[in-house]
C-alpha cells in the first residue's frame, strides 16, 4: 500500500532533521596533530603509556594498512575518505577530582543529561561518592563505561564488579594492568590483517572497553558502554574485547550518539568476543549515530568489524542490534562456531530514512559439530534510503549436524527507497540443515482493514503492525535497552509506514 498523505506529512516531521542528540559540547580537548603517520601511532601509544609490545603491534598494523585498499563490494556510495584529513586522537582535558555533582564541569553534566543517562549514574561516571544511606538496594544496576571521543572518561561500579572477580575497565588501562590477558586475546578473533578498517583500527585505536569474566561467574550486572563523538573532524576508533571464561555469563550493552555536523565523521570500531566452554555472551547495540540531515549532508560513516568466537564447547554468543543512525553503516557482527554444540544468534532491526545507506548483516561460520545458529533480520527503508541485508551462512566439511535458520524481512515505505537481500548459503556437508526465508512487502491490507474495522485509526493500525514486525528482535534486548530502542523506533518510524 503506498503511504497515505497523513503518513507522508508525519514522515517529514519526524525526519532525520529531528535528531535528538545533535548538540555539541564545548569542552577543551587534547588532540593529536591531523593526519596519519607512524608518528601519529607513536603519539597515541605514548599518550596511553603503552608497553613496547603494544606499540610494535600497532606499527605492524599500520604498515600493513598502507598496503591495503578500501573495500568496495558493499552497496554503499560515498566520496573517497581522505585519511590524512582526520584527527586520530582527541581527549577531553583532564579534570580535577570532584566530590559532589555541583563541582563537575557543567558542560559535561549537560551532555549526560541530554543523552538521557540518569543523574545518579552521572554521579558515578564523574566519580562522585554517594552519601551514606542514599543507596537504593532494589534498583537494578548497570555498570557504565563512557567513551568521549577517543578516551574512556569514566567507569562505574568498578569495586562491586571486582568483588565478583569481573574485570571491566577501559582497554587502555587493561593493557597496562592485565597485559597477559590482552596479549593473549587481542587480535585473536579479528586479526590485525582482517580488513581495511579493522587494520586501521588496530593501528590507531585509542580506547574502548575490556571485560574479563572468570570461570563460573555470572556477571552480577549488565555492563554498558556509551560512545560519543564530540570533536569536529575526528575519527573514533574504539576497540572492545570481551572474554567469557568457562561457564561464565555476561550481558553487554553499547550505545552511541554524535553531534550534528555538516561534515562526515568516521567511526571504525572493532569488537572481539571470546566465549570458552559453556560460556555465554550477549551483546546488544543501540546505534544512533547522527544520520545526516534531510538533504543527506553530514552524518557518521559507521564501518565496524564485530566478531565473536565460540571457542569452547557448548558456548553461545548472541548479537542484538537496533540500527537507526549513521549516514552509512557497514557492519556484520559475526559468529565463528568453533566449539562443538556452540550456538550463534543474530537479531537485528535496521531502520533507514533520509539518505541513509545501510549494508549490514551477519556471518555464521559453522566449524564444530552440532553447531546451531539463528538469524532474524528486519529491515525498514523509508525516505531515499537504501537498506541491504548481506549475510553468510557456511558449514564446514567437518561441521556435521550444523543447523541454521534465517529469516530476513524488509518493509519499504515510499517509492524512493530500496531494500535488498543478499544472502550467501554454503553447505559443505550433507548433515548440515539450512533454512532461509526472506520477504519484502508492504503491510497487508487485510490486516489493516481488520484493525481499522475494530476502531483503530490508520496510523495506530500501522504502528501496531510495525511493532509486531520488529517484535522478534525487540524481545531479545535487555530491559534497559528495550525502552530506549522502542523510543528510537517510534522516532524513526512512527507514522512513516503505509
Amino acid at each position: 500500500m503506498p503511504a497515505v498523505q497523513e503518513t507522508v506529512e508525519r514522515v517529514k516531521r519526524i525526519d532525520v532533521d529531528q535528531y535528538r542528540y545533535g548538540f555539541e559540547t564545548l569542552i577543551e580537548s587534547d588532540k593529536a596533530p591531523k593526519g596519519l603517520s607512524e608518528e601519529t601511532v607513536k603519539f597515541i601509544s605514548a599518550k596511553k603509556n603503552e608497553p613496547a609490545w603494544m606499540l610494535q603491534w600497532r606499527l605492524e598494523a599500520y604498515r600493513r594498512w598502507l598496503t591495503m585498499t578500501e573495500p568496495t563490494w558493499a552497496r554503499v556510495d560515498y566520496p573517497k575518505i581522505d585519511f590524512q584529513d582526520l584527527y586520530y586522537y582527541s581527549a577531553p582535558k583532564p579534570k580535577k577530582t570532584v566530590t559532589s555533582l555541583d563541582e563537575i564541569d557543567p558542560e559535561i553534566l549537560k551532555t549526560y543529561e541530554k543523552l538521557g543517562i540518569p543523574l545518579r549514574e552521572v554521579a558515578m561516571l564523574e566519580g562522585v561518592e554517594p552519601k551514606p544511606g542514599e543507596e537504593d538496594p532494589n534498583r537494578r544496576k548497570i555498570a557504565v563505561d563512557a567513551v568521549f571521543d577517543s578516551v574512556s572518561v569514566a567507569t562505574t561500579f568498578k569495586a562491586e564488579l571486582k568483588k565478583a572477580g569481573v574485570i571491566f575497565m577501559p582497554i587502555s588501562e587493561a593493557i597496562r594492568e592485565h597485559p597477559e590477558l590482552v596479549q593473549k586475546y587481542l587480535g585473536s578473533v579479528v586479526p590485525t590483517s582482517d580488513n581495511f578498517y579493522a587494520t586501521l583500527n588496530s593501528a590507531v585505536f585509542s580506547d574502548g572497553s575490556f571485560v574479563y569474566v572468570p570461570p563460573g561467574v555470572r556477571c552480577p550486572m549488565e555492563l554498558s558502554t556509551y560512545f560519543r563523538i564530540n570533536e569536529r573532524n575526528t575519527g573514533q576508533f574504539e576497540r572492545t574485547l570481551i572474554i567469557a571464561d568457562k561457564g561464565s555469563y555476561v550481558s553487554y550493552l553499547e550505545g552511541c550518539t554524535a553531534p550534528q555536523r555538516d561534515e562526515n565523521q568516521l567511526h571504525a570500531a572493532v569488537v572481539e568476543l571470546v566465549a570458552h566452554d559453556d560460556a555465554e555472551i550477549k551483546y546488544s547495540t543501540v546505534q544512533n549515530w547522527y544520520p545526516g540531515n534531510s538533504e543527506g549532508k553530514g552524518g557518521i560513516y559507521n564501518f565496524v568489524t564485530k566478531r565473536g568466537d565460540c571457542r569452547g564447547n557448548n558456548s553461545k554468543i548472541s548479537w542484538t542490534q537496533v540500527e537507526t543512525g549513521s549516514a552509512i553503516t557497514w557492519k556484520y557482527p559475526s559468529c565463528i562456531l568453533r566449539g562443538d554444540n556452540s550456538r550463534g544468534e543474530f537479531y537485528s532491526i535496521a531502520i533507514s530514512n533520509g539518505f541513509q545507506q545501510v549494508d549490514s548483516g551477519t556471518k555464521m561460520i559453522h566449524l564444530g559439530k552440532n553447531t546451531t545458529s539463528r538469524i532474524i533480520s528486519k529491515g525498514i527503508a523509508a525516505g531515499k534510503s537504501q537498506n541491504t541485508y548481506r549475510g553468510l551462512v557456511t558449514a564446514h566439511r567437518k561441521a556435521t549436524g550444523a543447523r541454521n535458520f534465517t529469516a530476513c524481512d524488509s518493509l519499504l515505505i515510499g517509492d524512493k527507497c530500496g531494500a535488498h537481500t543478499v544472502p550467501y548459503i554454503e553447505a559443505k556437508n550433507s548433515s548440515a540443515t539450512f533454512e532461509h526465508e526472506a520477504t519484502t512487502s508492504k503491510i497487508s491490507e487485510d490486516v489493516l482493514f481488520y484493525c481499522i474495522q475494530r476502531g483503530l485509526s490508520q496510523e495506530e493500525a500501522v504502528g501496531l503492525v510495525v511493532n509486531g514486525f520488529v517484535k522478534d528482535v525487540l524481545q531479545q534486548l535487555p530491559m534497559e535497552f528495550a525502552v530506549e530502542a522502542q523510543k528510537l523506533i517510534s522516532i524513526s518510524l512512527e507514522g512513516s509506514v503505509g
Binding site: M1, A419, V422, P423, N429, S431, H436, T440
Partner: protein, 435 residues
C-alpha cells in the same frame, strides 16, 4: 580487488587463437570490428575468477584454466557420428535444427518443415548479409565477450506475429571434436500473439574434454505463449558455459525449464527482463550432479515494469564430490509496482563431500510489491527413508523414490505432457546410473 593480468601461457594461446581464427569467422567489416572490440574486452578481463562477485562460486580460472582452440568444421565422419547422436536424443514429434561443433548442419535438420511455419536462417548468413546487433547483448562479461568475438554459427529463428507452431522446435548441439571449443550464438524472435515451444539439447557424440560457449537471445512479443526447455547432457569431462538474454513483452507467458545432467563444469547464466506489463514468468531448474561435476545456474530476473509475476523453483541433487551453485537475483525497478516475485531453491546433499552454494538475492526499489525467496540445504530425511525401508524397499530404491519426488516439484512445472515425461525419463536414467 584487481588481480594483475600477467599474460599466462594460456592467455597467449587464446590471443593467437583469435588472430588465426579472425579471418575465417563470418561477418561484414562492421561485424569484424565488433568482434575485435569484444575480444579486446575479453583480453582485458581474462577468464572470470572468484574475486568477481558474479563468478564467486564458479572460478573459471581454477576450474577450466585455459580456452581450447576452435573446433574444425565437421567433416563427413563427424557428421555421421553426429547423426547417430541426434537420433538418440531427438524428442519425438519435434522438428530439429542441428549444430555440430558449433556449425549448422543442414542435412541433419528439418529446415523445410520449420520453414513452413517460421523463418529460419543461420548465424553465418545473418552476419554476412547485414551487420545487425546480434553480437550486442544487454549484459556483458568476459565469457559473453569471448562468445561475441568467436561465435562461428547458430540459428536465427523468427516466428511471425500470431503464428501457432504445430510442433516444438529442438535445437541440438552435438560435440564430435575432442579437446576443442565451439562458440555458437542463436536468436529466437517470437511475434505478438504467437505460440511456440522450443527445446535446446546439448549432447556429445563420443567427444571428450571439449568446451562449449553458447549465447541465446530470445525476444518475445506481447500476448505470446512460450515454452522453452534446455537439457544439458554434455560429456562428463566437458565444459559448457551458456548465456541467455530474454526479453518478455506484455501479457505474455513464458515457461522456462533447465536440466543439467552432465558436464565437468557448467554454468547457465540467464538475464531475463520483463519489459511489458501483465506477464507471467515461470523459471525452473534441476541440477543432477555426481563425481566432481560443478553445475551453476545463475538467473537475473529484472522486473522493469509494473504488474508482472515471476516464479522460480530450483532443485539440486548433489552426490559424491560434486558442487552445485544457484544464484538468483530478483530486481524490482522503481516503477515496477504490484510486482509479485517468488523464488525457492533447495539442495539435497547425498554425500558428505558434496557442496551446495545458494545466493538468492532481492534488489527492490518499489514499495508496493510482494517478493520473497526461500533456500534450504540438507540430506534426505531419515524418517522418510526408514518408512520406505520398513515397507521392503532396498536403500537405493528408497533414495531414488525420494529424489524423484524432490526434483519432481520443479519438473512438474513443464506444461506439455510429452516433454515432461521425457525429462522425467532423463532424471530416472540418471538415478539408475547412480545405483
Amino acid at each position: 580487488m584487481n588481480v594483475a593480468l600477467a599474460k599466462t601461457g594460456s592467455g597467449r594461446a587464446v590471443s593467437d587463437l583469435f588472430a588465426s581464427a579472425e579471418g575465417l569467422l563470418p561477418g561484414s567489416p562492421a561485424i569484424k570490428a565488433a568482434r575485435r572490440q569484444a575480444f579486446e574486452t575479453y583480453e582485458r578481463l581474462g577468464l572470470p575468477h572468484r574475486r568477481i562477485e558474479e563468478w564467486k562460486y564458479t572460478d573459471l580460472r581454477a576450474l577450466v584454466g585455459e580456452v581450447l582452440p576452435l573446433a574444425a568444421s565437421p567433416d563427413a565422419g563427424a557428421l555421421s557420428k553426429a547423426a547417430d547422436a541426434v537420433k538418440a536424443h531427438a524428442i519425438a514429434g519435434a522438428r530439429k535444427l542441428v549444430l555440430v561443433d558449433g556449425v549448422f548442419a543442414a542435412d541433419l535438420s528439418d529446415v523445410k518443415a520449420i520453414a513452413a511455419e517460421a523463418s529460419v536462417k543461420t548465424l553465418r548468413e545473418t552476419l554476412e548479409k547485414d551487420a545487425g546487433d546480434i553480437l550486442t547483448t544487454s549484459s556483458t562479461d568476459a565469457v559473453i565477450s569471448l562468445n561475441a568475438a568467436l561465435a562461428t554459427d547458430g540459428v536465427v529463428l523468427e516466428i511471425a506475429d500470431g503464428a501457432q507452431l504445430s510442433a516444438p522446435i529442438q535445437i541440438i548441439h552435438v560435440a564430435t571434436a575432442a579437446s576443442a571449443s565451439a562458440y555458437s550464438r542463436s536468436r529466437v524472435r517470437i511475434g505478438k500473439g504467437a505460440r511456440a515451444t522450443f527445446i535446446e539439447s546439448f549432447v556429445a557424440a563420443g567427444a571428450k574434454a571439449y568446451q562449449v560457449n553458447d549465447a541465446v537471445i530470445v525476444e518475445i512479443g506481447d500476448n505470446a505463449d512460450v515454452a522453452h526447455i534446455r537439457l544439458m547432457d554434455d560429456a562428463p569431462d566437458a565444459v559448457n558455459i551458456t548465456s541467455q538474454f530474454v526479453t518478455v513483452g506484455a501479457d505474455t507467458k513464458l515457461n522456462f525449464f533447465n536440466m543439467t545432467t552432465g558436464g565437468a563444469v557448467s554454468r547457465l547464466q540467464g538475464f531475463i527482463k520483463l519489459a511489458g506489463e501483465g506477464s507471467e514468468l515461470s523459471i525452473n531448474g534441476v541440477n543432477l550432479l555426481k563425481k566432481t561435476e560443478h553445475g551453476d545456474l545463475t538467473l537475473v530476473v529484472d522486473h522493469a515494469v509494473p504488474n508482472c509475476t515471476s516464479r522460480e523453483i530450483f532443485r539440486a541433487v548433489i552426490d559424491d564430490r560434486a558442487h552445485s551453485v544457484f544464484q538468483g537475483r530478483i530486481i524490482v525497478r522503481p516503477d515496477a509496482q504490484k510486482t509479485d516475485g517468488k523464488m525457492m531453491t533447495r539442495a539435497l546433499l547425498l554425500s558428505d563431500e558434496a557442496e551446495a552454494d545458494n545466493k538468492p538475492e532481492l534488489e527492490i526499489f518499489a514499495d508496493d510489491v510482494s517478493c520473497g525467496h526461500g533456500a534450504t540445504a540438507g540430506a534426505l530425511d531419515d524418517t522418510l527413508l526408514f518408512y520406505l525401508r520398513a515397507r521392503g524397499l532396498p536403500e537405493k530404491d528408497a533414495q531414488a523414490l525420494l529424489i524423484q519426488a524432490f526434483v519432481g516439484e520443479a519438473i512438474e512445472q513443464i506444461a506439455d505432457d510429452d516433454l515432461r515425461e521425457h525429462v522425467v525419463g532423463m532424471a530416472e536414467r540418471w538415478l539408475e546410473r547412480r545405483s
